[in-house]
Every structure is written in C-alpha cells, then in structure tokens.
C-alpha cells in the first residue's frame, strides 16, 4: 500500500510535529509513505471565500502531486473534506475523481482502512476532551451528530479508548463549532474569537487537562483563545497521542 502524505499548509508552517507524528504513525503500521515535495495547500481558503476560479490552479497542483497513490492521508478533516467534497473547480478528469475518492483524514484511515485495534506504544495518563472539526464531523461523518437521530458512534473515540491511561471527558456543547471557520477567523474576528473563548471555557470547566482533535486549525484557534483567557488547558493533535506522545 502506497500512501501520499498530505501535510496541510497550517500544519507545515505551525505544527510540523503533527506532520511528523502522522508520518511515523503510518509507518508503524507498515504503510509505505511518500511526501510529495511540491504540495502547498488544498485550495480551501479561496473556495470558502467564494473564489473558486482562484483556487483552480492550486487544486490542479494538488491532483498532480497526489495522483497515482492508493491513498492520500492528511491530519485534517477540514482539508480532506474540501478535497473530497468541494474540489469542483478543476475539470473532473479520471485523475481528479480518483484523488478525491482516495483522500482520507487520518482518523478515518486508521479506523476504516487500516482497522487498527491497538496502539501498544501509546500511553497518555490524562483527562482529555475531544473536539471534532465541523467538516470532519458533518462532512466526513467521523462521529455521530447530536442534531441527528442516529446510532451513536465516534471513530476518534474508538481510537483514543485504545490509549493506555487516557480518560475521556465531555463538555456541555460537544459539537458546537469553535468559530475558526477558515477565513472567517480573520474577516469576522470578533464572533470567531468569542466562539473560541466560549469553547475554551467549556473545555476548561470539564476538567480536561488536554483537548485533542484531528484538526490543527481548530486547535490553533482554541489554544490562542485559551491563552488569552489564561486558562491552563493544553492542546494536542490526535496523531501525537496515538503515536505515543507522553505529554
């Protein structure tokens, strides 16, 4: 199995440790992982602003970088959702369709494709609360949603439950958006920051020492809000916990 490692621009620039953890984790399961050097971004910032034509070339570059792999795996539900569901600007060639269908978010790849049943190296003796990115949740359906009447499930929780010592705690509004919203975070900063601060307070009240998520963008925003409020909560990407990070 040949996997192309998709490292979203935010992760590349601000959280290289998340890219490293994702790479190492996949290799632990014997996956052959390539990191195409010419990757930049998925194009979501432009598309989310309505500028589809402006994101076309970026999306086409993505397809050139990642075509031919059995799977493309990235540690971000938001970016993966964009590739899978919103890659509409380029002409829909076989390559484009294939890349869209083969792009997976890390948690769903571990859960659905590799069907991982243990992380023997992982131990995280802390109270942790999970934040699901809205695109990962409502776009990729990595967990059941409180709005819908459906059977309860959570792929990230299934994985975290296999980590020794980790105790999951819940917050009062578990699937409320944290307010990051991509360019929303800069263009509508007041509401964005307020949502993030409310989220950070909710997390802090839950008694969680750590917040984890399969999306660095939400974590980066929430961490910034928690710091502004002088809350002690720490933020860590799920790939790091699953790869055996200790604290």
């Amino acid at each position: 199995m040949r996997v192309g490692l998709f490292v979203p621009c935010y992760v590349d620039a601000f959280h290289p440790e998340v890219g490293q953890a994702t790479l190492e984790l996949l290799e632990r399961f014997g996956v052959e992982v390539d990191y195409p050097f010419d990757q930049t971004c998925c194009g979501q910032p432009m598309t989310n602003t309505g500028c589809h034509e402006e994101s076309r070339a970026t999306e086409e570059l993505f397809v050139r970088n990642f075509s031919g792999y059995d799977y493309i795996v990235g540690p971000s539900g938001s970016c993966v959702n964009h590739v899978r569901h919103n890659f509409d600007a380029p002409e829909q060639t076989d390559d484009v369709r294939q890349v869209r269908a083969r792009t997976y978010e890390l948690v769903e790849f571990l859960h659905d494709i590799l069907k991982v049943d243990a992380f023997p190296w992982a131990e995280f003796p802390h109270k942790v609360t999970l934040h699901n990115n809205c695109n990962a949740l409502r776009g990729l359906n990595i967990a059941s949603m409180t709005e819908l009447r459906e059977k309860q499930y959570s792929k990230p929780c299934d994985l975290l439950e296999k980590v020794k010592g980790l105790e999951l705690v819940t917050i009062t509004r578990p699937d409320e958006c944290c307010g990051f919203g991509g360019t929303f975070s800069v263009f509508e900063e007041a509401v964005s920051a307020r949502m993030g601060q409310d989220k950070a307070r909710d997390q802090s009240r839950s008694g969680a020492e750590y917040v984890t998520s399969s999306d660095s963008s939400c974590l980066m925003h929430q961490e910034g809000c928690a710091k502004r409020l002088h809350l002690p909560t720490k933020y860590i990407h799920i790939s790091q916990i699953l790869n055996g990070a200790r604290a």
């Binding site: 290289p16 390539d34 500028c51 994101s55 009447r149 699937d175 007041a190 949502m195 980066m220």
Partner: protein
C-alpha cells in the same frame, strides 16, 4: 420575551455589572452604585443600499454581556429541547425526508396546486387574490380594508408582512395595525423588526420590555416581573383588539385539496385575529401550499418540535371559510419566489417552514442577535434567502457563517443550508459583490499556492517580520487575529524543512 437566567459573564464581572472584586469587602474604597439594567444593543446600521455590516452589529451585541449570555443560553435551551423531542420519535429522520419530499413535489407542481387551492377556496366562499410583489400585496390589503371602511387591523405574526413592509405601509395609509402576538407586539411598540421568526423579542431582557412598556403604556419602568408585564400588555391591547375592524393572519400551510388555511400559534392569537371581526385576511407566500390535509400532519409533527422543542403548538387552527355574514380573503404573494424557484442551486430554500431551528443552533446567530443581519430573515436561512431580495445590500451576509453545517442537520425539511451559503459566496464573488481587497487577496493567494516555489519562499522564517502567519493571511490590512486570541507559537522549522533534513531531498518515490 424570555425567562431570565443569571447570566454567566466573562471573568471579573457579576451579572449586576460591577467588577466582582469591588462589590463588597475591604478592597473597595468607595461604594459602587448598583448599575441599572444593561441597555439593549440595537441591530445593524442601515445605510440605504450599502452592504450590511453584520460583524459590526454583532460586535455591539457581544459588548452587552447580559444580553449575550441570555440570548445564547435561551436559544441553546431551545436547541436542546428540540434534541430531546427528536430523540423521542423513532422515525424522526424518515419524517424529515418525507417532509422534504412533499415540499419537492409541491414546489415542482406549484401551478397545479395553487390553482387547485383557488378553485376549492372559492367554492368555500373565500376570495383569492394574487400579488406579484410586496407593493401589490399591500395595495390589495388596503383595497379590502377601504371597501369595509376599516381603520384598525389586528394581526397575528407573519414574516411575509414583514417582508412586504406592511406595517409601515399601513401606517402611511391611515391604518392602525395592532400585533396580537406578545413578542411581536413588544417589537411593534419598540419600533423594531422581529429578531427571530418564532420568538421575535428573544434578544430582549425583561428589563428592556419594562422600559418599552413604560415608554408606550406608562407602566413602572422598574417593574420587570414577567406576570406584570404580560398583564399590562393584555390590559392595554385587549380593548384595541375587541374594537378592531379587520383581522389578519399569516399562513403555515395552505391545503390545496380543501382550500383551507392552517395557522399555528401558541397564544391563540391567530384565532383572535381571524374571528374577532367579520373580516379575515390571510397573507401567504405561494410556497406555503401543500397538496393534502394529511401532508399537514407531517409538518405539524415537526414544526413545534423543531422550533421550540414542544410536541405541538398550543393552537393549530384550520380556517376553511368566512364566518357567517363575514368575509375571508387570501392573498398569495410571489415577491421573488418564482425567480428563486428558477435558481438551480438555491430553489430548495423555498421548502422552509419558518421554524427557526437553524437560528437556534447557529453559534453565530446566538452571539449576534437576529437584528444584526439587518434583513427580514436572519440567521442561516436568512443568509440564503436575503440575497435573492437584494444581492448588493445583503452581499455580506453569506460570510457571517463558519459553514459548520449544524443548521442543515436540524432543518426539518432538509435544506442544505450550509452548502447554499457556500454557493452564494461563489455567486457573489463571481458577480463582484465581495470587497475588492478580498478578491485580490484571494487571487494573490491562489497564484502563490499554485506555485510550490513561490509558496515555499513566502513561508515564515525565523527572522522574518511576517513570521507569525503565512504571508497570504498576514499580508493585508486586516490582521485581526490577535484582538481576541494569542498568536500560535512558531516552530523553528517547517515540516517540509524537517523532512528534507531527516528523510532526504525528495519525498516522492517514483
């Protein structure tokens, strides 16, 4: 009007407003006077046809901590009650699909059912009118009223009459309108539009209501007891209702096979409005039509559960014809609806049954207040409907969303609201209805991100002035990130650099 909880305020303040550290104790050198009730933040500033600045109005709403805390909590409570109702109905998701399918069928056979309704309603003795726009609607109502020498009109809640600007029109033409819904009456007395399709005064604290009543009815401004307030309103309004000349209601469902109209209220005020006088005028959007009475059962099961988390509204009233000796009129209004029906990506917004569930769940709405949108329809459904009325004025609204998708999930008729928000962004960008700086920023970002070489060169370097964020975010006059948040920590190397150093020059094996 809503029940008031003790609001949770940001650290350092009590709900009474004085800094917590100074309310009592040795630290206080002077006695802090008790602060009066927090003034009500007002909605968006309307400047003619200029695009609405929702973010600005939202900021003012959030600067009123008591209002913000109450509004957020109250609407979140409604959302939770809605969830509990949904959990009690095993076939909930099937019901949503069925409701959506009924709407699809009806909207794709709209002409057939409207004509069927007209035929059956006429047979019941109801006058049927057709209005192509708001002006038409208002003129028809005025004609009917004048023909009866009616000058006082009592009416129940109707978003359509808001859409038509009917209240102002009536006032200009010497018609006194008295709203019979409590929340709507509060809004009327305060000369404010409803902020929510179901709970029109939900953004007001009871102290705000006391202030409005004091100003308009001469009651005690310091008495904000909800029982007293409700009694004042009743005593003040009842005589006006009983001596009215005409009554008006909206319409939740117009049933084609029976030619009857169904109106749902919790206060019984539609019955009051329809039955107190001999004249009943119904304003209905053409999309309110449903084929059969049994279809109404599907929507009745969903409406109040979605809206308020109650199994059913207190009153579900069926109006099939005029009272003995009276008259009943129904005005079907288009006002842009047939144009919307022709919009491939957006026509399903016509399925909306105005339950407001999307507003209750929307985290932006809860923190902004409905009046921040400066449009008849606020919140997620407003973002996708308002631009059909005025593409320029409401061009900013589809951006007042994180597109998190919760609205789509709670929608009882399964409108893909968050996808349509994204769709509108595209339409607006393509039609030059987004700010020029945003467009050029995206153009620059698109060029940068399409070139690995330029992109790599733009990334934050340890000694760069732009080290905090990728240049395409920072390189503008709008770096607002730090107003409410700290900057992320910048690592000493990017993943790319780390990989190159530790895993070799080219990561792509061929």
């Amino acid at each position: 009007m809503t029940e008031q909880r003790k609001p949770e305020t940001p650290a350092g303040r009590t709900s009474e407003g004085a800094p917590a550290s100074l309310t009592h104790g040795a630290g206080a050198s002077i006695t802090m006077p008790a602060r009066g009730p927090e003034p009500q933040p007002r909605g968006a500033v309307i400047r003619g046809n200029h695009p609405i600045d929702q973010a600005e109005a939202a900021k003012r709403f959030m600067a009123a901590p008591d209002h913000l805390a109450m509004h957020d909590q109250r609407l979140w409570d409604l959302r939770q009650k809605r969830d509990r109702q949904k959990d009690q109905i095993e076939e909930w998701e099937d019901l949503r699909q069925l409701a959506s399918d009924i709407k699809t069928h009806t909207l794709t056979h709209l002409d057939t059912y409207l004509e069927m309704f007209e035929k059956n309603a006429k047979a019941n003795g109801v006058h049927v009118h057709w209005a192509k726009d708001a002006a038409d609607h208002n003129a028809i109502v005025l004609d009917i009223l004048r023909s009866k020498n009616a000058t006082r009109l009592i009416k129940s809640k109707s978003m359509l009459t808001e859409e038509c600007g009917f209240r102002e029109y009536a006032a200009e033409h010497g018609i006194e309108v008295v709203e019979t819904d409590l929340g709507e009456r509060i809004q009327q007395l305060d000369d404010e539009a409803p902020s929510h399709v179901v709970v029109p005064a939900v953004h007001k604290l009871r102290t705000d209501v006391a202030a409005v009543f004091a100003k308009t009815m001469g009651t005690d401004p310091n008495d904000s007891d909800v029982i007293h307030l409700a009694a004042h309103q009743r005593n003040h309004t009842r005589p006006l209702i009983l001596s009215a000349d005409a009554g008006m209601t909206g319409c939740n469902y117009a049933v084609a096979e029976t030619g009857s109209v169904v109106v749902c209220t919790n206060e019984g005020n539609a019955d009051l409005s329809a039955n107190t006088t001999g004249l009943h005028i119904v304003s209905a959007g053409i999309e309110k039509i449903i084929p059969r009475l049994e279809d109404a059962a599907v929507f009745v099961r969903m409406l109040s559960r979605s809206a308020l988390g109650s199994p059913i509204t207190q009153y579900t009233s069926h109006f099939r014809g005029p009272r003995k000796g009276g008259e009943m009129h129904i005005i079907f209004v288009d006002n842009g609806r047939t144009d919307r029906l022709g919009l491939e990506k957006f026509w399903t917004s016509l399925k909306c049954i105005r339950c407001g569930a999307c507003m209750n769940t929307c985290p932006v709405f809860r923190r902004s207040g409905g009046l921040s949108y400066g449009a008849t329809y606020a919140g997620p459904i407003g973002l996708i409907i308002d631009p059909t009325f005025n593409r320029h004025k409401y061009s900013t609204l589809p951006f007042s969303s994180t597109m998190n998708g919760s609205c789509t999930n709670v929608c009882p008729v399964k409108i893909n609201i968050h996808e349509q928000i994204a769709g509108w962004r595209q339409v607006l960008a393509e039609n030059h209805e987004i700010p020029a700086f945003k467009k050029s920023m995206m153009k620059a970002a698109g060029m940068l991100l399409a070139s690995p070489r330029l992109y790599r060169a733009s990334l934050p370097l340890a000694d760069s002035a732009l080290r905090h964020l990728p240049r395409f975010i920072v390189y503008n006059r709008m770096n607002t990130w730090t107003r409410g948040r700290e900057m992320p920590h910048v690592p000493k190397e990017t993943f790319h650099q780390w990989y190159k150093k530790n895993r070799g020059r080219n990561g792509k094996k061929s």
